[in-house]
Amino acid sequence: MLKSLFTRGAMLAVCAVSLLSPALADDAIKIGSFLSATGPASFLGDPELKTLQLYIDKLNAEGGLLGKKVELIHYDDAGDAEKARTFVKRLLDNDKVSLIIGGTTTGTTMAAIPLVERAKIPFISLAGGIDIIDPVKKWVFKTPQTDRMAAAKIMEDMKKRGYTKIALLSETSGFGRSGREQTLKVAPEYGIDIVLDETYGPKDTDMTAQLTKIKNTEGVQAVFVFGFGQGPAIVTKNYAQLGITLPLYQSHGVASNSYIDLAGDAAQGVLISASALLITDDLPADDVQKTVLVNYKKDYETAFKAPVSTFGAYAYDGLMLAVNAIKKAGSTDPSKVRDAIEQTEGYVGATGVVNMSPKDHMGLDLTAFRILEIKDGGWVLIQ
């Protein structure tokens, strides 16, 4: 009796110790991460975290990196920039990680930047905002396309089709605001005139007022909506209800099947800029990204029994960039790894082909976006 009590106590103590100090293996390569796995941005952060865990387990099963195990130290910032800041400090000062992959939102990433710059540790962000890499910061990289690229890709397509006068409808969230700003900047480069610049709130449930105004404005040839979540789906429905026949463009903020589910038949014919991951199965076999995307999709969907999302793909690219750089540097020395990331060339990722340089810490070009059209509840690639 006494003995069993003793063993139980010892087991409990071991459990408690292992819970309190997840970092017992000292010679492992420590990769730190802070993501918004819960909270309002969890639909971004959750697939990102799952992807990181999945591929780090895989890496370890294949023998690790440089002969060492890789250990992921992750904290959930719930989308709060202040929490993110503390966790980054914890990763840097307490856990002493070699590299950080994380920052689901632009806000949490921006909070981390001064800290990683001071600590001189490479940081690969998974957030969209262009401010993260423009101006270039020595230790900061990012994997997703920027909102400026999304706007540029759409403008490119509009120009090709001969639309020169458009209406812009953007959301007053961080994503929509930044998108609006970039669209206004990019439009003149493609000779496109934004004749009407309207906004809606992220929690609005009816946008017919803005759309009626657009409908009644002379000369508008196309409409571009910049937002994410429910708003764009409501816009799409209202658009159909008002019988507007102008071409409707949406940003990569709606690049998921849930948008089609929400908008229903009204989504027919909507054009969006999105990563190729959405049309993995329909990609032509000679597409550079085909193999990467098919493998990533298969790995993720078998492991989690849930559809892949483009957000998880950002984490996949972040991890692969880091792994390749550590292999190339042959060590986890921060400045060597940083240089190796900066020298990344021709890496074919799940988001696009990455060519970094000292002037470009993202390394993607407009080919990382495809223009897709929604047809009969699915995505079709527009060549």
Partner: protein, 318 residues
């Protein structure tokens, strides 16, 4: 002698100073300093807020807003207009002081929890304005704030900030206790007991409530300004509704009408999320459970309940 030392005003302050002075021996790196500084910042705001909740019996759901207003006033005036940080901080104090006075003066004439409603609205308005005026505030993605400088001396890094916040904490606890023991504090306790009785003996109940509201808002504003300079990065979440709720929870958990209770509440609610981060998905469940159990079994808050128990135990022994 012993009686004097155990008096909360002297003994408590001594113990608090001792803890702050000795704590660095147990802090292995900057991350721990960072958590300690955040505890300090929260504690000072909560000590101020406790004056209002614990002594004036009014709930404010807008202190996050005052904190954010202080932070953004400092951030904008120093970064955009190049003002010296101290002047920016004092401007924040003036803005928040006037604003809280204007809001409180008419509302506190009414009985009941109208202040909670008004501050709820005010806090939300402040955070919406900060989010929307992105040409000035950087919008929802936040803005960078420069380090605190005074007469050419720059306050930067965790260790110097630890001592500054530590010293401020001792000063604010001392101030709060003096306010509690001042005529204003005694008058307010009378108000808390029976407002009518207090009015009958000539206490200007509204005046004192307004005073405490303004004082507590100013505490929040000052800490908001300092937090902005310390952290170097602020977002509208600092002014948000959840931050306000967090502050009120600290007061209630630690124990209303107990300055040290407010301190304990700030320590627990700042440290718990860090301790529980290892539980991943269950973090929030455990966090909620701890709060719930505390309030079910210790409805008066941690410190008042425990001191009461301690007194009982002592009384039973002698």
């Amino acid at each position: 002698m012993l009686a004097k030392l155990t008096h909360p005003r002297i003994g408590g302050l001594l113990i608090l100073s001792l803890i702050i002075a000795l704590l660095p021996l147990a802090l292995p790196n900057n991350y721990y300093y960072d958590v300690a500084i955040k505890i300090g910042i929260n504690a000072i705001v909560v000590v101020g807020l406790n004056l209002l909740i614990g002594y004036a019996g009014q709930i404010s759901l807008g202190h996050g807003g005052f904190f954010g207003l202080g932070a953004y006033t400092s951030g904008i005036l120093t970064a955009v207009y190049g003002w010296p940080p101290l002047l920016a901080l004092l401007t924040g104090v003036a803005v928040v002081g006037v604003l809280s006075f204007i809001v409180a003066r008419p509302i506190l004439r009414l009985t009941g929890h109208y202040l909670a409603m008004a501050t709820l609205g005010l806090g939300i308005i402040i955070s919406i304005v900060i989010s929307n005026e992105d040409w000035l505030t950087g919008g929802p993605d936040g803005m960078y704030v420069e380090p605190f400088t005074l007469l050419g001396w720059e306050l930067y890094g965790e260790k110097p900030w630890y001592w500054v916040i530590g010293a401020l904490l001792v000063i604010s606890v001392w101030m709060a206790m003096n306010i509690v023991d001042s005529p204003a504090g005694r008058a307010l306790r009378a108000v808390h007991g029976s407002e009518v009785a207090a009015q009958v003996v000539g206490v200007d109940t509204t005046g004192y409530k307004v005073l405490l509201f303004v004082v507590s808002a100013v505490f929040a504003s000052v800490m908001g300004s300092l937090f902005a300079h310390y952290s170097g990065f602020i977002t509208p979440a600092q002014a948000g509704f959840f931050h306000s709720i967090e502050l009120v929870t600290m007061v209630v958990l630690g124990g209303m009408a107990s300055t040290y209770g407010a301190l304990v509440g700030a320590v627990l609610l700042t440290v718990l999320p860090q301790l529980l981060s290892g539980f991943e998905d269950f973090e929030m469940v455990i966090f909620g459970l701890i709060l719930m159990l505390t309030l079910i079994f210790m409805p008066k808050g941690l410190v008042p309940t425990l001191t009461h128990k301690l007194k009982d135990w002592r009384g039973g022994r002698s």
